[in-house]
């Protein structure tokens, strides 16, 4: 009678020499595959260090003075610049954006004389109402509203240009103008005072290491490795596997 044990096998315990060679190829492939994919990410994790952007140091150098309301005009501009550089990152969460907007508005209007401030506030209200209408507008109406918004922003830009360090019409100035809100709180709320340092740390500290700082073919090395190289490796592994298996089948005269 045929014994069931004669046909027992597993990936690790093949039944014959062909199976053993096949197993070795498979295990080598699996080890290369898993080390290349996960080993690299663990390495990245192991050697990374929380690295702040320079902007965080700028912010922290003037933040104590901001709390004690003892900012010089240079400090104001440094603080404003650091807030703008965080606000300009388009991954900022809506709640954090709100606090940044409040802080940017408050800091700016503290520098601006009352007479100009009221004109700017009315201009911002005007822009907000046009922005509310533009989402439902189409074709010519959309273009008209867009043009009016740009004109109003230009007007505000001219009025505020002496109170910041940004190039007129540049990206930072646009971020600045887009951050101003229509209400002037006079001073930062307790919530903003408490949350701002956390927000700045959240967006300005990154996990960096030699693998992220090195540049390869223009990429940060780790990005190239994951987005480009691993895919090449997968195709390479598949080709090598097929060639090896078929070479062995041919050598051993096995027809599938």
């Amino acid at each position: 009678m045929e014994s069931s044990d004669n046909y027992n096998f597993s990936l690790f315990k093949p039944r014959n020499l062909h199976g053993k060679k096949n197993r070795n190829v498979i295990l080598v492939m699996l080890i290369i595959w898993s080390v290349a994919v996960f080993g690299f990410q663990f390495l990245l994790r192991g050697i990374e260090k929380p690295t702040p952007e320079k902007t965080l140091a700028d912010f922290e150098s003037v933040w104590p003075q901001a709390i004690s309301k003892d900012l010089s005009s240079v400090d104001y501009k440094t603080l404003l610049n650091s807030l703008i550089l965080v606000k300009g990152k388009n991954m900022v969460k809506p709640d954090d954006q709100k606090i940044l907007n409040e802080a940017i508005t408050c800091i700016t209007f503290n520098l601006i004389p009352d007479s100009i401030r009221s004109v700017i506030l009315s201009g911002i209200s005007n822009i907000n109402s046009m922005k509310a209408r533009i989402s439902g507008a189409k074709d010519q109406e959309f273009l008209d509203l867009k043009t009016s918004i740009l004109e109003e922003q230009k007007r505000i830009s001219v009025m505020t240009t002496d109170f910041h360090v940004f190039v007129q019409g540049g990206l930072e100035e646009k971020i600045f103008l887009g951050s101003l809100v229509a209400t002037y709180p006079g001073s930062l709320s307790d919530n903003s005072l408490g949350r701002l340092p956390e927000i700045m740390k959240l967006y300005l500290i990154h996990n960096q290491s030699v693998l992220t700082d090195a540049i390869f073919l223009g990429f940060p090395f780790h990005y190239f490795y994951t987005a480009v190289f691993l895919l090449i490796l997968f195709i390479g592994l598949c080709i090598v596997y097929n060639i090896l298996i078929e070479w062995r089948l041919k050598k051993e005269g096995i027809v599938e």
């Binding site: 045929e2 069931s4 046909y7 027992n8 096998f9 597993s10 990936l11 039944r15 190829v25 498979i26 492939m29 595959w33 994919v37 996960f38 990410q41 994790r45 990374e48 952007e53 550089l85 300009g88 990152k89 388009n90 991954m91 189409k138 959309f142 867009k146 043009t147 190039v167 540049g170 990206l171 930072e172 646009k174 971020i175 951050s179 959240l202 967006y203 500290i205 996990n207 992220t212 540049i215 073919l217 223009g218 990429f219 940060p220 780790h222 190239f224 994951t226 987005a227 480009v228 691993l230 895919l231 997968f234 195709i235 592994l237 598949c238 596997y241 097929n242 298996i245 078929e246 599938e256």
Partner: protein
């Protein structure tokens, strides 16, 4: 000199370039004539191909009569694989979550290595039409056939939901339609041609769809790289400098050849330093190292367990074709996957101006091309390509779901004496029911496309993958072990889904935050799949061994 000539050609032929910015354009809104014509022509082609290569009997419907070559099958694998999640969703994940989005790129390609070395040839040698067929036969169990058929349908269903969402977004963009109508019209068309053609028509269509997807996806990225002065001859490498530019920031104005680089709104091509886009698991993206690994692992293992992917190995004539079709399929897939991060990179740069703001993640590919001032017909082709990607995948999924319904449930369980004609009719009824149900769920907009699709991967990884892995590679895996392992996989799946649904509806269960993080619905397979394998092994060791004839068949037919 060469560059200046090409630049002039781009300006002449592609009209609305960034350098002659057609400012104040709208990303959304009105009916777009050119893209609509391209879309309609594409859809008509699909239907005609479906009619021309229509299925004549069940073998054609399920397995394309085993007449497909390895390159053709590779293209079909790629087309079947590259869904709205690949073409639309993946770039959106990188745009929104930075480096963590790359877990999707690696997960959705690395799984093919597993598929090749552990499954492809063995599945073809086993010689069954569908995944439930294999499971029912290997584990000599009618119950397992039924449960795996149900899960095949559920996995196909979950996968389809994301696709229908993608179809809706693109129809909405091109036709200026409401999202709901866009989903309904798109699903009607894909249903129509799947019903007419079955898999043989679908396979031919998939080859055409692959060409459309690749051409439409690659063309705009060459144009964008060229316009914004990156290495355009190989933009899949050239965009690396753009990633570094995002990390370090680009001051405005950004001048190239004496002219300022602008987006379609006339904004400077500039950005404040944004290392969070490229740095690993950056805290500001709200993602973690664990999530990167869990997503990547779940997608890889899920790839090797997806019924509609596994099913493709039945349609190649020879075992060697099954192996090489994986290589071809992976290569064709990678052409698109090397390119998707470039879209998110250019999208990041082009939307850095506060007047553009954060863009809808799932439409980032099309918006990027639009913001880059690429000609509207090319953008229309891109949208048609995205729809093709969704269509080809949906067709494969509907066939896999219908096969499970008619072949594995109806013929094998309910009515074994059914004639081929009745089988075909039941397959078509199953396809209609599934398409209707998917349409209803897609209208609810439960998540981002890539996330919705990843649910299907985790489900497949927890249920189908362990049964195939142990069924092929361990003769000791028996019926009781398979049932216990499947139960463990289903349990993890159910817990994750229940917590997700409760969380979505605003409710809270005990340990809601803990489960939502560690057993998140997008990646619960990181624990579910290994658990199912371990339970299967332990229970198999403790119960009656696998019958002789099964072991003999595996040893002689599959591993000889």
């Amino acid at each position: 000199m060469m560059k200046k000539i090409l630049l002039s050609l781009v300006i002449i032929f592609l009209g609305s370039g960034a350098l002659m910015a057609e400012s104040l354009t709208q990303l959304e809104g009105s009916f777009k004539t050119g893209p609509a014509i391209i879309l309609i022509a594409t859809l008509v082609t699909f239907v005609l191909v479906g009619v021309f290569f229509r299925a004549k009997d069940p073998a054609d419907y399920y397995a394309a009569g085993r007449k497909i070559s390895k390159v053709g099958s590779g293209m079909a694998i790629a087309s079947n694989w590259m869904s709205a999640a690949s073409v639309l969703g993946m770039a959106g994940m990188m745009y929104g979550f930075g480096y963590n989005g790359l877990a999707y790129v690696v997960g959705w390609t690395g799984g093919y290595v597993l598929l090749l070395i552990l499954m492809a040839a063995q599945i073809r040698k086993y010689g069954k039409y569908t995944a439930p067929d294999f499971i029912g036969d290997r584990y000599y169990s009618r119950d397992l056939r039924i449960v795996s058929a149900i899960f095949t349908i559920l996995i196909s269903f979950a996968y389809c939901v994301g696709q229908f969402g993608g179809i809706g977004l693109m129809f909405k963009w091109i036709l200026g339609l409401d999202y709901a109508w866009a989903v309904i019209i798109g699903s009607s068309v894909v249903l129509m041609y799947t019903l007419i053609s079955g898999m043989i028509g679908a396979t031919k269509n998939m080859q055409i769809q692959y060409v459309i997807i690749v051409v439409s996806f690659l063309l705009p990225i060459f144009i964008l790289a060229f316009k914004f002065d990156y290495f355009w001859m190989l933009p899949q490498i050239g965009y690396g400098a753009a990633v570094s530019d995002i990390v370090q920031g680009i001051p405005a104005p950004n001048i190239s050849n004496g002219m300022a680089l602008l987006n379609a709104y006339g904004h400077d091509f500039s950005i404040v330093p944004s290392p969070e886009f490229a740095m690993p698991w950056d805290p500001s993206t709200g993602t973690t190292f664990f999530q990167w690994v869990a997503i990547c692992f779940s997608l890889m293992v899920g790839t090797a367990g997806l019924p509609h992917v596994i099913q493709r190995f039945y349609v190649v004539p020879k075992v060697t074709d099954a192996r090489w079709s994986v290589v071809w399929g992976l290569f064709f897939i990678c052409l698109v996957y090397w390119t998707a991060p470039a879209y998110s990179t250019f999208g990041k740069l082009l939307s850095s101006n506060p007047e553009v703001g954060v863009l809808a993640k799932d439409a980032i590919v099309v918006y990027t091309a639009q913001l880059g001032g690429v000609n509207s017909l090319v953008v229309g082709l891109l949208a048609a390509g995205a729809i093709s990607a969704a269509f080809s995948t949906v067709a494969g999924l509907l066939v896999a779901g219908a096969s499970a319904f008619s072949h594995d449930l109806y013929v094998k369980v309910i009515n074994p004496g059914a004639t081929p004609k009745i089988q075909l009719r039941i397959a078509r009824i199953g396809t209609i029911i599934m398409a209707l149900a998917v349409t209803i769920v897609a209208l609810m907009k439960l998540g981002l496309i890539a996330q919705l699709v990843s649910v299907a991967f985790s489900m497949a990884a927890c249920t189908i993958f362990p049964l195939f892995l142990l069924g092929i590679w361990w003769s000791g895996s028996n019926r009781a072990g398979a049932k216990a392992g499947l139960f463990a996989g289903i349990l993890v799946t159910t817990v994750s889904l229940v917590y997700f649904i409760v969380g979505l509806s605003g409710g809270r269960l005990p340990g809601q935050e803990f489960i939502s993080y560690w057993l998140n619905v997008w990646y619960f397979a990181w624990i579910g799949a290994p658990l199912a394998v371990i339970v299967n092994i332990v229970v198999s060791k403790l119960t009656t061994p696998t019958p002789l004839e099964i072991k003999k068949f595996l040893a002689e037919q599959v591993h000889n």
